[in-house]
């Protein structure tokens, strides 16, 4: 579904990511773990097309998309949930969802029903301005916004960041069921142990801009193995 080959990305000429090669197969849920500043968010931005790579290539669904702009990638079926959620604060919940119609041009209709099923609070607040909602609600909206266009691949950048545990819990449960029910392939970045263990089928560990390890299901279950790459 998604492959990167020797991807090198940075701001200006200074690389943040170096020679990153990873693969995500159709239907997988893959995590990327790493400390703050390791380059996780940079990787996500490079994958959605907000940062141009200095070197290397990105292949999506068999097509090389290295030079595609973000909106083209989105229309090809890549959904993106930015790190700080970045909902459009002055638009209502419903309008936020509407913006994402461009995600996945192949999708026939917006999956309002589906996302409202997952996040009923959004339906209640459909006409509320997004900027006036709590962080957790904004996170749900950000997920719903990406999901509403029925993407084939979903990029999630630290979904637990700054969110109360109950919602983190809910998201940790929702994502795998989305993966299962809608067949959406998921690649996420996280540093919350519970979330990683609750969602990922396998994991890449990233340190100072390079992938240093790949963890299968067995090592994922091992707190210690994971913790090595996270905050402690």
């Amino acid at each position: 579904m998604l492959t990167t080959t020797d991807l090198t990305v940075g701001y200006g000429d200074t690389p943040i990511l170096r020679d990153v090669s990873l693969t995500v197969d159709d239907g997988e849920i893959v995590g990327i773990v790493g400390k703050n500043g390791a380059g996780k968010t940079t990787l996500m931005k490079a994958l959605i097309g907000l940062l141009d790579p200095i070197d290397g290539s990105v292949t999506y669904d068999g097509t090389e998309i290295t030079d595609w702009a973000a909106d083209e990638r989105a229309r090809a079926g890549v959904g993106y949930i930015p790190q700080s959620r970045d909902v459009f604060p002055d638009l209502t919940v419903e309008q936020n969802l509407l913006v994402a119609e461009g995600v996945n041009a192949d999708a026939e209709d917006l999956l309002y029903g589906t996302v409202y099923d997952y996040f009923p609070i959004l339906e209640e607040r459909a006409s509320q301005k997004a900027g006036t909602m709590s962080g957790g609600q904004q996170q749900m909206l950000a997920i719903a916004r990406a999901l509403v266009g029925n993407p084939d691949l979903l990029l999630l950048d630290e979904p637990s960041e700054g969110i109360q545990p109950s919602i983190v819990q809910q998201i940790t449960e929702d994502i795998p069921s989305i993966n299962e029910e809608l067949g959406t392939t998921i690649l996420f970045v996280e540093q919350n142990l519970g979330v990683i263990q609750g969602m990922a089928e396998r994991c890449y560990a990233i340190e100072r801009g390079t992938i240093v390890d790949e963890l299968g299901a067995d090592r994922l279950a091992d707190d210690g193995a994971l913790a090595e790459f996270i905050a402690v």
Partner: protein, 294 residues
């Protein structure tokens, strides 16, 4: 003695003028952060398009769209060729649009001469007692309201408008949602240009058609944009209403001279005491009320 009907008509007239003078400028500035110093020339192009079509035999109702279309096409071409390159340099875009304005005025003069024969004001007058007022000028206030309402609907109710606002709020995220942000900017600039053209088209019958005619809209346009504040449509409406009322009241009682001075004076007061403009003040009050209610 203040004649209330006179005052009302003068207010509507003034309101329409301020709103229509400002709206194109306000949308391009408010949505895109570009100060279009060629705004006056955009209006002029609208008026020229309309007048040329009318003089060629088209009825007024058909000539107005011609003027709007001419300005829109010009706006789109300029956005693609010039303005686009300067989105990250708003101050340079002022110099560039100034240069465009300079060239546009003189090109118009070279091609069409110093003046076009003008269109008569249609619709006649409303009579009341010893007074009468130009029907068309009064009607322009409804057009101004309609333009505001249409702009409101376009930017808050249509998919395009929602995407355009999303782009303005966060272009990166919008593009990651599949929005073609470049196109949003182009279309928004096109809408701003179209509205400037509409202003020119609508006022063409009431004015002398000369290449420099756009400058007579500039003071009101810029004053309205500055006093209106960040929220474009609300700001333009409030500026049109507030400044229009001041202008009409003082013009009515003391003459056009005092009317203009009063308008400028009030604008300075607003700038001094409401740094976020009229819309900022209104939204501030609304937010405070909401916070207290929740």
């Amino acid at each position: 003695m203040v004649n209330v009907v006179n005052l009302l008509f003068q207010f509507l007239d003034s309101f329409a003028f301020i709103v229509l003078a400002a709206i194109g400028l306000a949308i391009i500035f408010g949505m895109m952060g570009v100060i279009n110093l060629a705004h006056g020339e955009f209006i002029m192009v609208g008026a020229y398009g309309t007048t040329l079509a009318y003089n060629a035999g088209a009825p007024l109702l058909l000539s107005i769209p011609v003027g709007v279309l001419a300005t829109t096409v010009m706006g789109l071409v300029l956005e693609r060729s010039v303005v686009r390159r300067l989105y990250d340099r708003p101050l340079d875009s002022m110099v560039a649009t100034f240069a465009l304005g300079l060239a546009l005025t003189q090109l118009t003069r070279i091609v069409f001469g110093n003046s076009l024969s003008s269109i008569g004001i249609p619709l006649g007058s409303v009579q009341y007692g010893q007074f009468s007022y130009s029907m068309y000028r009064v009607l322009l206030s409804s057009v101004a309201l309609a333009v505001l309402a249409a702009a409101y609907v376009v930017f808050t109710r249509t998919e395009f408008g929602i995407r355009a606002r999303a782009t303005i709020q966060d272009a990166d995220t919008a593009s990651a949602m599949g929005v073609e942000t470049d196109r949003m900017y182009t279309v928004t600039f096109g809408i701003g240009s179209a509205l400037a053209g509409l202003t020119g088209a609508l006022y063409a019958p009431t004015m002398s058609i000369v290449p420099g005619m756009g400058s007579s809209f500039l003071v009101e346009a810029f004053v309205a944009v500055v006093t209106g504040g960040a929220s474009v449509l609300l700001g333009t409406t409030l500026a049109g209403g507030g400044l229009g009322l001041v202008n009409a009241l003082f013009s009515n009682v003391y003459g056009t001279f005092i009317g203009q001075i009063a308008l400028l004076f009030v604008a300075v007061l607003i700038l001094r005491f409401l740094p976020n403009g009229l819309s900022g003040a209104v939204e501030g009050v609304r937010e405070r009320m909401e916070r207290e209610n929740t």
